[in-house]
Amino acid sequence: MMKSPVEIAVSDLTIAYGDFVLLKNVSFEVNKGDVFIIMGASGGGKSSLLRVLTGLVPAAHGKIVIGGVNFTAADEQKRQQIMQKCGILYQSGALFSSMTLAENIALPLKQYTNYSDKMISELVSLKLALVGLTGFEEFYPSEISGGMKKRAGLARALALDPEIVYFDEPSAGLDPISSKMLDDLILDINQSLGTTIVVVTHELNSIFAIGNNSIFLDTATKSISARGNPRELLKNPPNQDVYNFLTRGEKIKNA
């Protein structure tokens, strides 16, 4: 697939809930085709940053540019247009429980395209095949496992061929094998479809397996304390916190 020059540029972003500032003057860029990891300790604002990037929560200050369009200054209609280029996989999959998997995936297609029913049905099967859920079209979310729910959620996120896919803690609640399968799937989608991937996670195995760029959110300074390829960060940690995080603090005990 030919890629359009999609990138996410965040500048001077501040996230606050009332007087409580979670992140202050954060700036970073996600290049097209990146698997970009947002990492940091629990409560560091990773998920909040994702909610701001996806427009669920307004930023207190700062600018987000997605695909060359100012997302923070965009009106509701413009935002919807931008969000159509973005797919999101929520922690639990967030599938609609009263709909079958096929209906879940068909929903954005029916909303935003003029495809015929046959075309939609073909696309639904294709998306399910892409995540390894061939034949599960008529199943309800309650009838499948947690890992399958995440994969079905991913199929829904991919329904409109997004240029960016956001993942909120994709490994949460999954066994190591399912988690590895999801990581492989993320890489596969990134490589075969050229999709830009933004992953919020603190799962070290996933971070090293899939990430080629990252930021580390520091709870104390409420800012980014490291950025770059996670494997490079492990080799040359810029500070003790990043080192502790990437080694689970185990080496310190041994030292």
Binding site: M1, M2, S4, S97, S98, T113, N114, Y115, S116, K118, M119, E122, L123, S125, L126, K127, L128, A129, L130, T134, G135, F136, E137, E138, F139, P141, S142, D161, S192, L193, G194
Partner: protein, 370 residues
């Protein structure tokens, strides 16, 4: 974004030029497939050297063309098709398109009837077992052994008592008003409109007050019980209680039943009073009955037995509504849809059981001469 194709001898050539994004021209696709199906076409060639941007819709187009060529044994040649596009086409081809779930077989009528009867038996058993568990919880409470938090009871009591005062007052006032109006139309014809006072007083205290409170509380509190406990079921909180060895009936059901059983009779008294006020409003303002006269006829009509019958109905309704609300909450499924269904069932069954119970009480009181 067009499907440019041409026929050269026995070969159908499809040229993909430029962008193919959200391709939804079904007519063009049908024409292409129809042409490809022709007997004189032996080879199909897809040239994608000029292809720029594409998405899943192009995958579906090429998948259909590939599937057709395979089924009709025609040669397909893909020229300069991007590797990832080819991979997706192969993936689409590998999809098993047979229905994944077997459709349930139709049962013979006798077996269906048997199944229906068995379902009723099972649900009755489940309902009775739930009532049994509630009675056990009550027993444990009497012996001070129930795991019930006092604060839960007080919260439930607050929610179903003084927070319901406004709606109960308003609805009862309106019902009194309507009762007086409807009664007056008939009584006026033979000049007996003064008996509107007696009609409203007896009607409200004997049954109408209790029924109205029952319906309001079923819709308001019974539904809330089912939704709250149902959501706890979805969040696995009920599983957590069970694994901790805490009886769910002690912890969740008992405080709610006790609160509603205490609150409903009190609300019935309020409803009786507000209904009479509503009736008086019509009587005094529209039927020209003087206030002292209306008061006198109301007092004469008021009877302690009727009043207590109404309050007793309220007490029973409180138990019925809370039992229905908690039962459907506890046996709720594990998704958002189930919570909605549990709430609906709680309200509907509470109202149906209230009517059934009213019938039973009426017959018993009739026999007892009350």
């Amino acid at each position: 974004m067009k499907l440019n194709f041409a026929q050269h001898n026995q070969t159908l050539e499809l040229e993909l030029n430029g962008d193919y994004l959200k391709f939804d021209d079904e007519a063009a696709l049908s024409t292409l497939l129809m042409t490809a199906q022709q007997k004189n076409i032996q080879n199909i060639q897809v040239n994608a050297s000029e292809l720029k941007q594409w998405d899943s819709s192009l995958v579906v187009v090429l998948y259909r063309l590939t599937a057709l060529s395979k089924s009709q044994k025609k040669q397909l040649k893909l020229i300069d098709v991007p590797k990832n596009l080819e991979r997706l086409i192969n993936l689409a081809l590998a999809v098993d398109r047979k229905p994944s779930l077997p459709s349930s077989p139709k049962l013979p009528w006798l077996e269906s009837l048997g199944g229906f009867g068995y379902d009723i038996f099972q649900s009755s058993k489940k309902g009775l077992s739930f009532i049994g568990q509630c009675l056990k919880s009550w027993g444990r409470f009497i012996c001070s052994k129930a795991t019930m938090r006092q604060v839960d009871f007080l919260f439930a009591l607050q929610d179903c008592s003084y927070k319901a005062i406004g709606i109960v007052s308003l609805v009862s006032f309106m019902v009194g008003l309507i009762l007086a109006f409807v009664g007056a139309i008939q009584l006026k014809t033979f000049g007996a409109q003064i008996y509107v006072a007696s009609l409203v007083a007896i009607g409200m205290t004997r049954i109408m007050g209790a029924i109205m409170v029952g319906i309001i509380m079923a819709g308001r509190t019974g539904a809330a019980y089912a939704a709250t406990i149902g959501t706890m079921q979805v969040n696995e909180e009920i599983d957590a209680l069970k694994t901790m060895g805490i009886p769910t009936t002690d912890f969740l059901v008992l405080p709610r039943i006790m609160a509603l059983t205490i609150a409903t009779p009190i609300l019935v008294i309020l409803a009786d009073f507000m209904g009479i006020i509503g009736g008086a409003t019509v009587g005094i303002l529209m039927l020209d009955i003087s206030a002292p006269e209306y008061y006198k006829y109301t007092i004469n009509a008021l009877d302690l037995t009727n009043f207590l019958v109404g309050v007793f109905h309220g007490l029973v309704f409180g138990i019925v509504i809370s039992l229905c609300g908690c039962y459907f909450g506890i046996y709720c499924g594990r998704n958002a849809d189930s919570v909605g269904r549990a709430t609906t069932q709680a309200v509907v069954s509470a109202i149906v059981w209230m009517i059934v119970v009213t019938g039973i009480i009426t017959v018993i009181f009739e026999v007892l001469g009350i």
